[in-house]
């Protein structure tokens, strides 16, 4: 199942899918975790998981939202990072770094690979992305924020 806002990634690639199991009452339980507390995609994801369970002929299924442990970009699969980059979104750094108040980030342009890039705004088209610009090829691009 793909993410509604980053349609090249599955919810498994993203690390949003935390597990599938059978609960004590026999129901199939799918655990998901939000990327950001207020991510509006969570409702759509939950609904689509419920529909997928129904389509698979599972009579008793439900979605459980878990908050702990808190989602981190470290859970994004390598496959997910590769697909993001091909889609034109700079993937998060492999290890989530806690940046100090005035730290610096170096993000490579997903189109030309140049590291001569600059941040336009910390808050982009979705909660999980920031908007950057490449000084070499002049293209603006989304960067998947590292948290």
């Amino acid at each position: 199942m793909v993410d509604p806002e980053v349609p090249v990634l599955t919810i498994e690639d993203l690390g949003v899918l935390r597990g599938v199991g059978v609960a004590e009452d026999g129901a199939v339980e799918v655990a998901i975790t939000p990327t950001y507390s207020g991510c509006p995609a969570m409702n759509v994801i939950a609904l689509e998981v419920e529909l997928a369970l129904e389509r698979a002929g599972i009579a008793k299924g439900r979605v459980r939202t878990v908050l702990s442990p808190a989602w981190t970009t470290d859970w994004m699969s390598d496959e997910g990072r590769r697909k993001l980059k091909e889609y034109g979104i700079a993937p998060p750094a492999p290890k989530a770094t806690r940046r100090a108040l005035f730290g610096l980030e170096a993000i490579a342009c997903p189109r030309c690979g140049s590291e001569d890039t600059e941040k336009i705004t910390e808050f982009g088209s979705t909660a999980c992305k920031a908007l950057w610009r490449c000084r070499s090829c002049r293209e603006p691009f989304d960067h998947f924020k590292c948290i």
Partner: protein, 256 residues
């Protein structure tokens, strides 16, 4: 109209205080949607609002569960009157000009970033989980508001004057952030809540560093306003609630 009396169990109160702070500030920021000085900032303020409302939701859900009176997050948000809200006065202050909004955000975020980081070690598993999530978001809110404050303070004479005026006006609401009453002291002893005084050195350091870069003067600690956390609010909260709660008051139980 349903009258709901806020439960007084300390844990419920603590969850409500945190939730109300996040919801009221989130609502305030959402008022900028479509009105911010530039598109990027419009998106940023809406994003921060979304994070804050997202933080409020599990806190309300937890408060409702602990209370056990059949309320849910919507009832807590939409069907309590101003005197039942438990947020600090800082977050309900009007948006003012852009400098007021940024200063309010910075003063709050400089407190909340370390607050969530430390609350992630709470003995209460739900608070710890919510805090671990919120901390990552608060770090972004702090950085964003600090960068703007520096830009405004160290900008033109006009932006500097406005940023300083905003700081002077809002400073009297910062004392309340560091208060802990009897409700919280019991929770602090149990390792559930945080003693806000422990955050003072880090808050001071962040504020001094950013104000220094922004060439702004830290106002002296004079008379500090207080009362929001026990339901005594400024006149502004009623107007926020009138806006936010209109639909549920006019059409009780409406869903779509």
């Amino acid at each position: 109209m349903t009258t709901i009396i806020a439960a007084d169990a300390p844990l419920v109160q603590y969850a409500l205080r945190l939730a109300d702070n996040a919801l009221v500030l989130g609502h305030r920021l959402s008022e900028w949607c479509g009105h911010a000085p530039m598109l990027e900032e419009d998106i940023a303020l809406a994003n921060i609002a979304l994070d804050l409302i997202g933080q409020a939701r599990p806190l309300y859900a937890y408060a409702a569960e602990l209370e056990g009176e059949g309320r849910n997050e919507d009832k807590l948000a939409y069907l309590r009157d101003a005197s039942q809200y438990r947020n600090v006065l800082l977050v309900e202050q009007p948006n003012g000009d852009f400098a007021v909004t940024i200063v309010r955000q910075f003063l709050y975020a400089a407190f909340m970033a370390p607050f969530w980081r430390l609350l992630a070690g709470s003995r209460d598993a739900t608070f710890a989980a919510i805090a671990a999530k919120a901390e990552k978001e608060a770090a972004y809110h702090l950085r964003h508001s600090a960068e703007w404050l520096i830009r405004l303070g160290d900008g033109t004479p006009e932006s500097h004057a406005r940023a300083q005026a905003a700081l002077d006006e809002l400073w009297m609401y910062t004392g309340e952030l560091f208060e802990a009453d009897a409700i919280e002291r019991g929770l602090i002893e149990r390792g559930v809540a945080l003693d806000p005084q422990t955050l003072r050195p880090e808050w001071d350091e962040t504020v001094d560093r950013v104000l220094g870069e922004a060439t702004l003067k830290r106002p002296p600690d004079g008379w500090m306003q207080t009362g929001g956390r026990t339901g005594r609010h400024s006149e502004h909260l009623g107007f926020i609630l009138a806006d936010m709660q209109f639909l549920q008051r006019a059409y009780p139980g409406a869903t779509w």
